[in-house]
C-alpha cells in the first residue's frame, strides 16, 4: 500500500475532474458545478487519507514518489510532503469546495456559464496541490508559473468592470517575478552542475546542503525571493493584489489570497531557507524590515479604504507581512507560527472575502458608505461577519490568535524592535476590522439596506466549515502544530540557526532588527 502514488493521485483527481467538467455541455451548468463540487470533496477525502498516512510515516519528507520527466537535466515528477506542505495541502483541499459553494452563482451576472469557473478552479487546485507537494525545484517552478494562467482567466472573465486591467496587472507582475525566478532556477542548476560530481539537478533533496558560494547564494536567493515576494505579496511588490482581488469575484479573490498566494510564502520557507542558508541568515534583517513595513502599510491603507473588498485585500497584505516576518525570524516559534498563520489566514480570509462578497452581491456596491444598519434585516450575516472580523484581528480563542502570538514571540527573541512594531499591526487590525463592521452593520437602517436578505442555506453551508475550523484550531491547535513543527524543525536546522536564549532579551543580534 505504501507504494501507491497517493500524492500523484491527489494532484490528478482535480485535474481529471477539470477535464470531465470541461466535457459537460455548456447548457448543463448545474451539472458541471455539482460534478466540480463532488471532485473537490473527493480530493478533500484523499487529503485526509494522505494526512493519516503522513502520521504513520517517518522522515522529513513522506509519501515520496519520483518519476523521470526529463531526466537528462534532472527534471523529475518528484513529490513528497513534510509538515508544512501537508498543512497547506489540507488548506487547499478544504478551501476549494468552500469556494465552489460560495461562488455557486457568481458567474451568472457576467452571462457566462458556471462551467468555466468550476473548470478553472479545479485546474488551479490541481496545480496548487502539485506545487505544495513538489520536491523538484523545476517542477515546482513549472506549476508555480502555470497556475498564473487559470487565475488570470478567472479574474479576467468573471470580475468587475476593470477586470481586464486587474487581470493583466496580476499576470504581468507575477510573470516578471516568475521569469526572474527562472533565471535563478537556471543559475542554481548550473551551480549544482559545477559542484556535484554527477552533474546538475533540480531535486530538492540533492540541492539542499550544496556548498554554494555566498555570492551565488545571494544572487539566486534574491531571484527566488523576488518571485515569492510578488506572489505573497510583500511591500513594495504588492500593488497588484488590491486590484486583482477588488476586480475579481469574491470567491476568486478568496482562492487567490487564501490559497494561491500561499505558494509564495510556502516557497520562502520550503525553498529559500534550506537552499540558501547563508543568504537567508544574512539577508533576514532586510526581509524582516520589509515584512514590518508590509504589516504597517497594509493595515494603515486598509483603514483608509472606502471599498470593502480592497480593505480586505490590504488587510491580507498586512497579514502576509506577519507570515514573512515569522519565516525570516528564523526561530522555531516563528516558523511554526508563520506556517500556522498561512493556514489560519487562508481560512479567515476566505471567510472574510465570501461574507463581504455576499454583502456586495446583495447591495450591488462595494462602498462601505452604501451600507449601514445591516444587522437589523440580516442578523445572521452580521454575526458571521463579526466572528470573521474578530478572527482577522486575532481574538484569543480563535485560530488566528495562536499563530499571530507564535509569530510575535518567535520574532521577539531575535528582533525585538520588529516585534514591537508588528504588534502595532494588531492594534491597527482592530481599527480597520471593527470600524468596517460598525459602519456596515450598526447604525440606523438605510433605505437601501432595508429588507436585505439574511444568510441563505448555500451561503451558510460554505461558511460553516471555515468557522468551525477557526474555532477548533483556536481552542486545540496542538495536532496541526505538531505536524507543522515536524516540518519546520529540519528546515531551521538546515539553515543552521538555533533559537536564541530566551533569558537574554537584549543581545547584540536582537538590536539589529
Amino acid at each position: 500500500m505504501s507504494d501507491f502514488p497517493w500524492l500523484s493521485v491527489l494532484v490528478a483527481v482535480p485535474a481529471v475532474g477539470a477535464l470531465l467538467v470541461g466535457l459537460v455541455p455548456r447548457r448543463r451548468g448545474v451539472l458541471a458545478k455539482a460534478l466540480g463540487l463532488a471532485v473537490s470533496l473527493l480530493t478533500l477525502g484523499l487529503t485526509i487519507v494522505v494526512a493519516l498516512l503522513y502520521r504513520a510515516g517517518e522522515g522529513q519528507f513522506r509519501l515520496t514518489e519520483q518519476y523521470g520527466w526529463v531526466e537528462r537535466f534532472g527534471l523529475y515528477w518528484s513529490l513528497g510532503v513534510d509538515g508544512v506542505a501537508l498543512a497547506l495541502i489540507a488548506l487547499t483541499a478544504v478551501v476549494t469546495p468552500v469556494v465552489l459553494v460560495g461562488g455557486w452563482d457568481e458567474a451568472e451576472p457576467t452571462g457566462r456559464s458556471g462551467k468555466g469557473f468550476v473548470f478553472l478552479v479545479l485546474v488551479l487546485e490541481a496545480m496548487t496541490l502539485g506545487a505544495f507537494a513538489a520536491t523538484d525545484v523545476l517542477a515546482f517552478y513549472i506549476l508555480f508559473e502555470a497556475m498564473l494562467v487559470p487565475m488570470y482567466l478567472l479574474i479576467g472573465s468573471y470580475g468587475g468592470p476593470r477586470r481586464s486591467y486587474a487581470a493583466v496587472k496580476f499576470l504581468l507582475y507575477n510573470l516578471l517575478g516568475g521569469l526572474v525566478m527562472l533565471a535563478a532556477v537556471i543559475g542554481l542548476y548550473v551551480q549544482s552542475a559545477t559542484l556535484r560530481p554527477d552533474g546538475g539537478t533540480f531535486l530538492l533533496s540533492e540541492l539542499v546542503g550544496l556548498p554554494l558560494s555566498p555570492q551565488a547564494q545571494y544572487w539566486i536567493f534574491a531571484g527566488f525571493m523576488v518571485a515569492f515576494a510578488i506572489k505573497a505579496p510583500l511591500w513594495p511588490f504588492h500593488s497588484w493584489l488590491p486590484d486583482a482581488a477588488g476586480e475579481a469575484t469574491p470567491s476568486t479573490a478568496a482562492f487567490l489570497s487564501g490559497v494561491m498566494d500561499k505558494v509564495g510564502t510556502f516557497g520562502m520557507i520550503h525553498l529559500c531557507l534550506p537552499l540558501f542558508p547563508q543568504a537567508a541568515r544574512d539577508l533576514a534583517p532586510v526581509i524582516v524590515t520589509l515584512a514590518v513595513v508590509s504589516i504597517l502599510y497594509g493595515a494603515l491603507v486598509a483603514i483608509g479604504q472606502s471599498d470593502m473588498i480592497r480593505l480586505v485585500a490590504y488587510a491580507s497584505i498586512s497579514h502576509f507581512g506577519f507570515i514573512v516576518l515569522g519565516i525570516f525570524a528564523l526561530t522555531s516559534q516563528g516558523g511554526a507560527g508563520a506556517t500556522l498563520y498561512m493556514v489560519n489566514h487562508g481560512l479567515s480570509t476566505v471567510a472574510l472575502f465570501l461574507v463581504v462578497g455576499f454583502l456586495v452581491t446583495r447591495r450591488g456596491s462595494r462602498a462601505i458608505a452604501d451600507f449601514g444598519g445591516v444587522q437589523r434585516p440580516a442578523p445572521v450575516l452580521a454575526g458571521v461577519l463579526l466572528v470573521v472580523a474578530l478572527a482577522t484581528l486575532s481574538l484569543p480563542g480563535l485560530a488566528t490568535f495562536v499563530s499571530e502570538f507564535l509569530v510575535l514571540v518567535g520574532t521577539f527573541t531575535r528582533y525585538p524592535v520588529a516585534a514591537v512594531f508588528a504588534v502595532l499591526g494588531i492594534v491597527l487590525a482592530a481599527v480597520y476590522m471593527l470600524w468596517m463592521y460598525q459602519r456596515v452593520m450598526t447604525g440606523p437602517v438605510r433605505p437601501t439596506t432595508e429588507g436585505m436578505r439574511d444568510m441563505r442555506g448555500r451561503e451558510a453551508l460554505a461558511l460553516a466549515p471555515l468557522l468551525a475550523l477557526l474555532l477548533v484550531l483556536g481552542l486545540y491547535p496542538k495536532p496541526l502544530l505538531d505536524v507543522i513543527n515536524e516540518g519546520v524543525a529540519p528546515t531551521l536546522s538546515q539553515v543552521g540557526v538555533a533559537d536564541p536564549e530566551p533569558v537574554q532579551p537584549a543581545t547584540a543580534e536582537g538590536a539589529s532588527g
Partner: protein
C-alpha cells in the same frame, strides 16, 4: 595549396550518394513534376493532383529522413553534409512544410477560393482581375514554387561548402519572393512586400557571395572544413578572413531576421499571403538557423573569440528590439513578425555558446517555435471580414465570444510564444537559457529573461482583447475551415502541448543530433 593543384588534375567523374540525398531529390523531383502538371494537365484536375503530389512527396521525404537518422557522412564529393543537425532540421522543415502545404490548399475560408491571386500577372483592380475572380480561376503554380523552396531549405542547412550554400539560399529564396506577391486580397500591399523582400534579399545574397569570395581568397577553398583548417593554421591575411566572415554572416542573419537586418520582416510578413507568411516564419527561419549553425560551428569554430562578441550584441539587440517594437504593433501579422524577430534573438542566445548543449537547445527551440508559428498563422487566416483577413488587432476584440475554440487555440500558441510552462515554448526557453548559462553567457540569459517579460506583455494584450473586450458590432467572422486547415492547427496545438508536457523524446533526439560531420 592543395586546392590549386586539384584544379589542374584530370577531372574525375564524381560519386554521388543518391541515398543520402534522396529526401532533397524527392522534393525537387516533385517540384519539377509539378511544373509539368501545370503545363499539361487541364486546369480542373491540377488542384487535386498538385496537392496530392506535394503532400505525398513531403511525406515520402520525411520518411526518408527518418530512415537516414544516425547517419553522419558527407555526400556529393563533400559538398553536402548529412549529419545530426542536418537531418533534425530537414525533418523539422519537412514536417512544418506538410502543415504549411495543408494551409496552402485551403479553399473554403475565402469566398474567392484559396489565399492566392487568380493570376499574379493581372493588374490589381483591373478588368482582367475581376473577370478571373468572377470565373473563380485559381492558380496552382504555388505548389511547385513552394516545393522548390522547400528543396532549397533542405539543402541549405546541409551545405558543406559555401557555394552549395549559396545555391541553396537562392533556390529557397526566389520562390518565396514570388509567393509573397501572390495574395488574393490587398494585392498592392502584397506586391510591395514581394518587391521589398526581393530587393533586400538580393542585397543580402550579394553580401553573402562577397563574403564567400573573400573567404575563398583567404582559405583557397569554399569547403567549410578547409576554411576551418585554414583558420586554425592561421594562413593568409586575417583582414580578408574577418571581412569575409562579417559579410557572410550578414547574409545569413538577414534570413533569420536578426536585428539590425530585420527591417524587411514586418512588411513582408504582413503583405504576404498568410499561409506563405507562416511557411516563411517557420521553415525559412529554421533552415537559415541550420545554415548559420553549420557555418559558425564547422567552418568558423576556430574563430569564435572573434564572432562571439558580435553575436552577443546581435542577440541582445534582436531580443530587445523585437520585444519592444512588438509592443506598439496594431496588426496581428506585424505583431507576430516582431515576435518572430524576438524569438530569433532567443535562439541566438543558445547559439552563442559553442557546445553541443547549445546546438541541441537551438534545434529543440526551432522545432517548438515552428509548430506554434504555423499554427498561429493558420488561426490568423481564419479570422475574416468582407475585405479578407481581419488582421487589425482591434478587430479581434471579443473573439472568444464568437468562437471560443479558435480563441482558445490562439491563446495556447501565444502562451507558448510567451514561454508559459506546460507549453513547448517554456521548454524551449529553458533549454536555451540553460545552455547559454552553462556556457557562461549568463548576462545574455538575464537580458533574455527581461525581454521575455516584455514580450509576454504583448502576447497577453491579445489574449485580453480576445477574452475580456466586448466584440465590435460588425466584427469579423471566424471562417469554418476545411479539414486541411483544421488538421494543421490541430497538429500545431497538439505538438505545442505535447512538447510542453513530455519534451523528453525530442530533447533526446536533439541531443543525439548535436554532432556535426566535418
Amino acid at each position: 595549396m592543395t586546392a590549386l593543384t586539384r584544379q589542374v588534375t584530370e577531372i574525375q567523374s564524381p560519386t554521388i550518394e543518391y541515398g543520402l540525398l534522396a529526401p532533397m531529390l524527392v522534393v525537387f523531383g516533385a517540384a519539377v513534376l509539378g511544373v509539368l502538371v501545370e503545363a499539361f494537365l487541364p486546369r480542373r484536375v491540377r488542384y487535386p493532383v498538385q496537392v496530392v503530389l506535394s503532400l505525398g512527396a513531403l511525406a515520402v521525404a520525411l520518411g526518408m529522413v527518418v530512415t537516414l537518422a544516425d547517419r553522419v557522412e558527407v555526400a556529393a564529393e563533400g559538398s553536402v553534409a548529412i549529419d545530426g543537425p542536418t537531418l533534425f532540421i530537414q525533418g523539422t522543415v519537412l514536417a512544418l512544410s506538410l502543415l504549411s502545404v495543408l494551409l496552402f490548399a485551403e479553399r473554403r475560408v475565402d469566398p474567392g477560393g484559396d489565399a492566392f491571386a487568380s493570376a499574379a500577372s493581372s493588374l490589381p483592380g483591373s478588368e482582367d482581375e475581376r473577370t478571373l475572380t468572377a470565373q473563380r480561376v485559381q492558380q496552382t503554380e504555388v505548389y511547385p514554387l513552394v516545393m522548390f523552396s522547400i528543396g532549397g531549405m533542405l539543402l541549405f542547412p546541409a551545405s558543406n561548402d559555401l557555394l552549395t550554400m549559396f545555391v541553396a539560399l537562392e533556390v529557397l529564396s526566389f520562390p518565396l519572393y514570388l509567393l509573397c506577391g501572390m495574395a488574393r486580397r490587398r494585392r498592392l500591399l502584397s506586391q510591395e512586400a514581394a518587391v521589398k523582400y526581393f530587393l533586400l534579399g538580393s542585397f543580402s545574397s550579394a553580401f553573402f557571395i562577397y563574403g564567400v569570395a573573400l573567404l575563398y581568397g583567404y582559405a583557397g577553398s569554399v569547403r567549410l572544413s578547409d576554411i576551418d583548417r585554414a583558420v586554425s593554421e592561421q594562413v593568409g591575411s586575417e583582414g580578408l578572413l574577418l571581412a569575409g566572415v562579417a559579410l557572410l554572416t550578414v547574409g545569413l542573419l538577414f534570413k533569420i531576421a536578426a536585428v539590425p537586418f530585420h527591417a524587411w520582416t514586418p512588411d513582408v510578413y504582413q503583405g504576404a499571403p498568410t499561409p506563405v507568411t507562416g511557411f516563411m516564419a517557420a521553415c525559412t527561419k529554421i533552415a537559415a538557423f541550420g545554415a548559420l549553425l553549420r557555418v559558425l560551428y564547422v567552418g568558423l569554430g576556430g574563430l569564435r573569440l572573434d564572432w562571439q562578441p558580435l553575436l552577443w550584441a546581435i542577440a541582445i539587440l534582436t531580443m530587445v528590439v523585437g520585444a519592444v517594437v512588438a509592443l506598439t504593433q496594431s496588426d496581428v501579422k506585424r505583431m507576430l513578425a516582431y515576435s518572430s524577430i524576438a524569438h530569433a534573438g532567443f535562439v541566438l542566445t543558445g547559439m552563442v555558446v559553442v557546445e553541443p548543449a547549445g546546438i541541441s537547445s537551438v534545434l529543440f527551440y526551432l522545432a517548438a517555435y515552428g509548430f506554434a508559428t504555423v499554427g498561429a498563422f493558420a488561426v490568423v487566416s481564419l479570422v475574416r471580414d468582407a475585405g479578407g483577413e481581419a488582421t487589425h488587432l482591434s478587430r479581434w476584440a471579443g473573439l472568444a465570444k464568437r468562437s471560443p475554440l479558435v480563441a482558445g487555440v490562439f491563446t495556447l500558441f501565444l502562451l507558448a510564444f510567451a514561454g508559459i510552462p506546460l507549453t513547448s515554448g517554456f521548454v524551449g526557453k529553458l533549454v536555451v537559457f540553460l545552455a547559454a548559462w552553462q556556457g557562461g553567457a549568463w548576462p545574455l540569459v538575464l537580458v533574455a529573461v527581461l525581454a521575455s517579460a516584455v514580450a509576454a506583455f504583448f502576447y497577453v494584450r491579445v489574449i485580453v482583447l480576445m477574452y475580456f473586450s466586448e466584440p465590435a458590432p460588425e466584427g469579423p467572422t471566424v471562417a469554418v475551415p476545411s479539414p486541411l486547415t483544421a488538421a494543421a492547427i490541430g497538429l500545431g496545438a497538439l505538438v505545442t502541448v505535447g512538447l510542453g508536457v513530455a519534451p523528453a523524446p525530442l530533447l533526446t533526439l536533439a541531443e543525439q543530433a548535436a554532432v556535426f560531420v566535418r
